[in-house]
Homo-oligomer: 256 residues x 2
Amino acid sequence: MKFVDLLDRTIKKNNSLLCVGLDVDVERIPKDIPAGKNIIFDFTRRIIDQTNELVCAYKPNSAFYERYGLVGIEALLKTIEYAHKFDIPVILDAKRGDIGHSSEAYAQAAFQYLKADAITVSPYMGADSIEPFTRHEDKGVFILCLTSNPGSADLQTGLPHPLYLTVAEKVKQWNVRGNCGVVVGATKPDQLKEVHDIVGDLPILIPGVGAQGGDLALSVKYGGKRAIINASRSIIYAADPKAEAEKLRTEINQCR
Amino acid sequence: MKFVDLLDRTIKKNNSLLCVGLDVDVERIPKDIPAGKNIIFDFTRRIIDQTNELVCAYKPNSAFYERYGLVGIEALLKTIEYAHKFDIPVILDAKRGDIGHSSEAYAQAAFQYLKADAITVSPYMGADSIEPFTRHEDKGVFILCLTSNPGSADLQTGLPHPLYLTVAEKVKQWNVRGNCGVVVGATKPDQLKEVHDIVGDLPILIPGVGAQGGDLALSVKYGGKRAIINASRSIIYAADPKAEAEKLRTEINQCR
């Protein structure tokens, strides 16, 4: 099944545009989960058990698994496999991008080894760094457009014709197989509207509504029918992740 | 020891600006290395045994290890450890970059878990995506500036004030701890000169002289005293990697 169809099906089934980011920090895992080599997966499994009827996707950030080395990668593999038991698509947040044959190796790592359904990639190296990902037609490829952090002002917005608009226009060209999406931070709703006007109803991954304080209502309004609203730490480290996810899903649906 | 001092020491000791890229493709590993779970490290160990007196650095590309999953990551770990037995610095070619706490997790993966001496990063997300790497003062951080691939025309060079020049100027600002470098492809020697004029004698990692057909003489001439000339496939898959590395080192030295 193509990523976008899997996404649409899950949006409908769970009546949700909420994506839960699985950014694991062992220091913050609840104390009742026993320490040891399975702690990461024990934690993500619990989050998935609690939230799988409330989300349209999960987004593990590769960085937080890589930092634990082999143990982390094994936990990532199991986490993705476990999300699939509930038919929830998994977006690997990896922000990869390299020359052709290296990007192809990253695509193999993400799609064939880890079995992610989609990946985030950086546009800096251009078309031939993206194509090895989009070549995998059933997989989704979210291209960084305008990010939620302060440093986005350094290259993305600081030009007469802002770079994020150039990227949005490029994504339209690069979307020859219909499997591209973009990443736009919730901290910049006006620019999100501009990007949506360019890319239309491609999936837009929108991080930054939780701990980063982005604008939820405008993100949902301007993000269109495939606005994937991501929250990570504000849900997974909440005292009651299920209640927190349910609350955010409701808030999102009130803005749709 | 700071990365740049380790680099300078190795350049001097081995009289070499050659960096060998360790981009492992199991399909291309010589047939006399036995198949099995150790094949990747058995191959990189042989390359390191053959070339450690001829190089200033090794550059494993993370993509080519990640695609083999746990087995690949374990081989990468062993490869870096083995290079260190010969006191050769290792630049992890990973092209990472994310918001602050995610970049910090990538930095921990690269510097603390894998024990790389330097990393390549993407500038797309700006200052606060780079700082978590440069915060590790003894480690080197090579920021993508102008890459060697055709797609570099999409964002890096296609603007009135080309983006790679903006990046080069940013790198000067970001270099508060003196541990930044840049990546500029050997396929663009005139632009390499421009970048060198901006960043001065920061280390410049220059891929693209081998299989990609970049200009060796001009790369050495314009790259300055820390022009790190990388060749990967043209050396590691040569019939005689040692002879090939020796030949390239000599060619580089004739241009210095």
